[in-house]
Symmetry: C2
Subunit: 436 residues, 2 copies
């Protein structure tokens, strides 16, 4: 068995990690070097099958829960809940090969390094990938981890209908990932997620490792505007009830609102469709989404309220009706301070430049933070580009991040007490009710 | 043979006209009382077959030209070009049953009334329906009449690809309407089109008949904005190249521009699509259309120029590229003053309230006006609603309009000289080149 010193000198093998990233990226590959594996699609099944094969080849104990989350456990000297790492392997329709996949495959690389070194940790270790993190097919995003921590009832999750009309429970069954392990699952001892930043902050700061302090709150809504379709040539402006105009004016307002609120407030209209969508017909109906995010819950609520006010004002002025539907709503999350410290110290001790920063994107770690000490490790994204085939992180950054994950997992699995152990005794469990 | 007095007392049979309107409206019927017969679709073929059957039942000589325009000729005492009426029977995807169809079926009703009364006019009469007037499947609109008057080469028209990828020439052949009569066609002696107003002006003026003075100029363009798809949570506003935002800001600007230019200037963004069209991805590409119309060519050009300037400004500010493509461009048209006078006098002599007005919509008559004396007769549209299943005109207004058509056709077909005969001698023919 390796000494503590020997353990501290353990490093991942970047070539092996990169080879797995490329092989998984070739499943559902799309032009430009990206991939498309929408949750529970045939391509997602193929990706899952590949990762599960790797898990089994590493001698890990693989289980699947009732919402399709997959766990691969490595036995420790003691029993009890494992120290878990992981992420997701589903992608957006035009995604890159790193988002999510990097965290899962780095976890497997860590397991392989430990096996080669003959290391057995005190607590068990686990690598997980969670279902439908992207929310690109089934809303809300981070669905699998939300159900895992008890934030949504399993039956409600199974009944979610995707953008293509598919039912989540039926699709899970169809692709063979409707597992038998019940949800919500047992809380792990701790959870650490390694992920690409997906933003430009680390790169702009000269690179290095990010010790993630928390996650922005997220508000997703779908807005349906109903006006009156009419002839584009014969209908004077004052007679119009133009649903498309209201959608456009709201899009412009959302940008102005985010600028005015400042800080890290962002606002995005990512989806928009008009009906009947003809060049010479005033749009009678418009459906669009608004994505609002902020680390400050109070400001996020202010953004939501002002957007709602503006929609009401526009609806009255244009003579249209407006309906809003919440697709997802998560409050900002703060990660466990001990885990954040551990990530920061470990990254620095390995010679990395380190920066604390919040995450602009939602991650499974924010769900796990409800039931155990949790944190995240970020590596830079070239140009801040993500959700795009051009998504890229340099191999040396990938290796540096995976080494930090390896050492953080060892510290958590071998320590006397998992960090934030207080929290696990104070009865804080899954949120009583998911705010939707 | 009827005397001049007897001819002046001839009236259409509203029940017969309404029955044909309803029967044709049942082809491609959609919920809400409308119909959907996109040009050269299976439903369009079914509608064409029905109208051609009616034409043959009335003993008319039916011919089809090489762009699918259909002509039904009634012999006169003399030879030479016919006095023509007509319109179109294609519809937008969510259209009403009156737009276009009313003019064609009123023409058939006039033929039936004349046959019953044993009237033979001096010049031949013709009822026409022109291909793809709406432009909802194949751009530009008024395509069939444009090709008929020599404004577009037949081969170019055949090669137009529709919104569903279908090629116009192939689709004509598929539905059996690739006729043998060459294009451009022989100019008629005169052309009169009866049509619903599709706008609110006549109704707001207390109803009656519209003597149409001309048609607004039309500018259709398709704008493609290319930015960068990126993560909606992690990309600060200042790093964004949001194609959807530029599309939205242009939509809002178009409305403001039309308000500022005033008069009868209108601007409509009717079609808009985002890519990848996901809630949490900043749109990397947006494609949308802008429809600008004005009776004043100089102001229309000003609107086009200012829109182009604003697009350039937005593109620079957002760091995106913009491409503009003209889908259709027609200058304003003034109808033949003698025909406008004849419509006005005839409508008044039949006891109608009459109002002169320009058309906000494009019509086949504006194409025919390039090669012969042409004019239009409008009847009111309830609520100004058109291109909508709720499109409606009261039966008495339909009958009044058809009676005006009947008497105007008789006057033109029996007169010593067709009005505007000067023009037919001054060599004015099809426009030398279509401005696209």
């Amino acid at each position: 068995m390796a000494t503590t010193d020997e353990r501290r000198r353990l490093r991942v093998r970047p070539d092996r990690l990169l080879a797995r990233l490329r092989e998984l990226g070739s499943v559902g590959a799309i032009p430009g070097g990206g991939c498309s594996r929408l949750a529970l699609s045939d391509d997602d099944r193929a990706g899952r099958d590949l990762v599960v094969t790797w898990m089994r080849d590493l001698g890990l104990d693989v289980t699947v829960d009732a919402v399709g989350n997959v766990f691969a456990v490595r036995t420790g000297r003691e029993g009890g809940p494992p120290v878990m790492c992981g992420s997701h392997i589903d992608t957006v329709a035009t995604g890159g090969i790193y988002d999510g996949n990097f965290g899962v495959l780095s976890g497997l690389e860590v397991m392989e390094v430990l096996a080669e070194a003959g290391v057995v940790t005190r607590r068990p270790l686990a690598v997980a990938f969670f279902t439908d993190e992207e929310g690109a097919r089934f809303a809300p995003d981070m669905l699998g981890s939300l159900v895992y921590v008890g934030g949504m009832a399993l039956e409600a999750a199974h009944d979610i209908v995707g953008i293509d009309g598919g039912r989540l429970g039926t699709e899970l069954d169809r692709i063979g990932y409707l597992g038998s392990v019940p949800c919500p699952g047992l809380p792990p001892a701790a959870y650490v997620e390694l992920h690409i930043e997906q933003g430009p902050v680390l790169e702009a700061a000269g690179g290095g490792i990010g010790a993630v302090t928390g996650v922005q709150g997220i508000s997703w809504q779908e807005v349906t505007v109903v006006g009156q379709p009419n002839h584009a040539g014969t209908t004077p402006l004052s007679y119009r009830h133009d649903a498309g105009y209201v959608a456009a004016a709201t899009t412009v307002f959302a940008r102005e609102l985010a600028r005015e609120l400042g800080g890290d407030q962002v606002a995005t209209v990512g989806r928009l469709s008009l009906h009947p969508d003809l060049v010479n017909v005033v749009p009678g109906r418009a459906v669009f989404t608004v994505d609002l995010r902020n680390t400050d819950e109070a400001v996020l609520q202010q953004a939501e309220a002002r957007l709602a006010d503006e929609l009401d004002r526009l609806a009255r002025a244009e003579g249209v009706t407006v309906e809003r539907r919440t697709l997802a709503r998560f409050e900002p999350v703060e990660f466990d301070p001990h885990v954040v410290d551990l990530v920061e110290r470990t990254a620095a001790s390995l010679g990395n430049r380190v920066r604390r920063l919040p995450s602009g994107a939602g991650h499974d770690a924010q769900m796990l933070a409800r039931v155990c000490p949790a944190g995240m490790i970020f590596v830079p994204s070239a140009g801040g580009i993500s959700h795009n085939p051009a998504e890229h992180t340099d191999p040396e950054d990938l290796a540096a991040g995976a080494d930090v994950l390896l050492q953080v997992l060892l510290a958590l699995a071998d320590g006397d007490d998992p960090p934030g152990a207080d929290r696990s005794r104070d009865g804080a469990g899954p949120a009583a009710e998911e705010r939707r």
